[in-house]
Amino acid sequence: MPYHEFEASKCIPERKMHAVVKGEGEDLTSCLPKGYLNTIPGTISERGCAYCGAKHVIGTPMKDVIHLSHGPVGCTYDTWQTKRYISDNNNFQLKYTFASDVKEKHIVFGAEKLLKQNILEAFDAFPEIKRMTIYQTCATALIGDDIAAIAEEVMTERPEVDIFVCNSPGFGGPSQSGGHHKINIAWLNQKVGTVEPEITSPYVINYVGEYNIQGDQEVMLDFFKRMGIQVLSTFTGNGKYDDLRGMHRAHLNVLECARSAEYICDELRVRYGIPRLDIDGFGHKALADSLRKIGLFFGIEDRAEAIIAEEMAKWGPELAWYRERLQGKKVCLWPGGSKLWHWAHAIQEEMGVKVVSVYTKFGHQGDMEKGVSRCGEGALAIDDPNELEGQEALRTLKPDVIFTGKRPGEVAKKMRVPYLNAHAYHNGPYKGFEGWVRFARDIYNAVYSPMHQLTAIDIAKDDYATDQGFVTRRMLSDANLSDEAKASPLTGYTGKFDPIAAIRAKTDADYPVFAPKAATEAAE
């Protein structure tokens, strides 16, 4: 096994089995780090807790819901507004967060009464909102508060409201991934099948594992609507609580982030016979193939092909512009869980960069299987890294850019490595044909920005040129290009600052109306 031992972690020998270098001829039977294990004492992990995984990643993107944490105010404060999962109802779920504000006296005397008071106050403060999720935290789990009983009491007293209880305290797993699992299964057990949705199309899907980061979900929904597909629910970005109660009526579950939401897809398959189709919304080829697959399933592939042709004609040349300028740039792909495999192959194939390292904070070995497979030889794969390991890897690998979260991203910036936010994006959305060009644009700007180069100069000590001003694109990224490429009239991304506004402005009249297909034709 090609394990990699960091100098910084020699005093924590167990860490050695959490990093591998993919050598020549290595495959998954000889090269895979350990994963989804408890963080080793002594290593400072970048992981979140199971409460955070349940609430912050999956629960809170639901848009028409009061999200209430039963616990100390710090738990909810630290999971508030840290990720840009926007919504088309004025971002209610981002603007407001709720906590029962448990204190020491409640640990001694119980906090159920406090919880009920908080639930009623929250509903009274926002009378237009009739749905609520309540999240267990470590403190209230340990004192044994019965949240479900309180929720039942309130629902009996106020029959117009509906409450979902998520019992995923922070200690409920090695990382946030434990919380993803718990809330998936809890939602399925408590809520799926409790609403009968209106079916308006012969083609009905749930869009699962999509969190509408900077509008990703809205971009993808636009494609689905252009194909005449009814999206019954989105689990959970920009999703509605009651739509998600009707998930059992879909014909197909289309799954994006398998790491956070495969559990509900798998159980919907077992319990209701709805098949699971994994797709990739990132990357031009992967997205085109994904739309084709959904089209094939419903017998409407021609509709997918029409969208692909239109979008590729528009955005393909702009992506090529960036690919020429990003050839061979070294990337550390260090996201939370799924993007290491969503992006690893697509950015190498379509943007020309080289992934020199992948890591995952909370991924399982299954995520590393996908990530290691999609990397080239020599890539360093790290599970649950600590900060010193990250610094050592950056010093050794000398990447041109790093894609990671904001905490390790700030460390990278101090080490003069440009950083892009892999979780919440810089200038997303990154999904969709246009979104992928926006991502390429952000990478280009990160790699070539003169600002980053200036930050490497210590003006107190270093000699630096005082007679050189701003450096242009032609001097930075175009110096070694062919004459033909230099003469191209293209200048990279030409889209708008906010591409989501135009999608939101669309009405039903802007989408095509298709004649119903004969049953036999649709089945072919």
């Binding site: 895979l32 159980e267 209701y272 189709l277 994994d278 080829k285 193939d289 697959k293 399933f297």
Partner: protein
């Protein structure tokens, strides 16, 4: 749609099919061809990586079985939603194989079935029987 309550927990103890790389003795030319197909799958597809071993066994058999039928020009069963789901992944796979591997066009039906059977064995080895993933035998999803 009917809701099934009973969970099959015995599914986690599926039998191993291979104890070593099933292509270890395959001649180099054929091995190289299979490697091309394997590389495409491992870089571009996700269906082979469902979280549990028993599920991967079904996925691999369902999708690669239908891919072989499509490449051989045979009729494919799409009568159930699950079959149709396997079929759509198989259609994309067969198209991409044909686009990338011109040598497939010169193969007869039996040769294609034999080739994909070997590819299937190799994917089973990589993702199930030879896998280092310790979560493949977990009972629940």
């Amino acid at each position: 749609m009917a809701r099934k309550e009973k969970k099959d927990v015995t599914r986690a103890s599926y039998p191993k099919l291979y104890t070593s790389d099933p292509l270890a003795e395959v001649e180099p030319e054929l091995r190289a061809r299979i490697a091309e197909l394997e590389n495409y799958i491992m870089k571009n597809c996700l269906w082979q990586f469902n979280s549990r071993g028993w599920d991967r066994r079904k996925q691999n058999a369902g999708i690669l079985g239908k891919t072989a039928q499509l490449l051989a020009g045979e009729e494919v069963d799409t009568s159930t939603p699950l079959d149709k789901c396997y079929w759509v992944d198989a259609v994309l796979l067969a198209r991409n194989f044909k686009e990338r591997c011109a040598w497939l066009a010169g193969m007869g039906r039996d040769e294609i079935h034999a080739l994909i059977a070997k590819l299937h064995a190799r994917i089973d080895w990589l993702t199930i029987d030879g896998s280092l993933n310790e979560e493949l035998t977990v009972q629940n999803y």
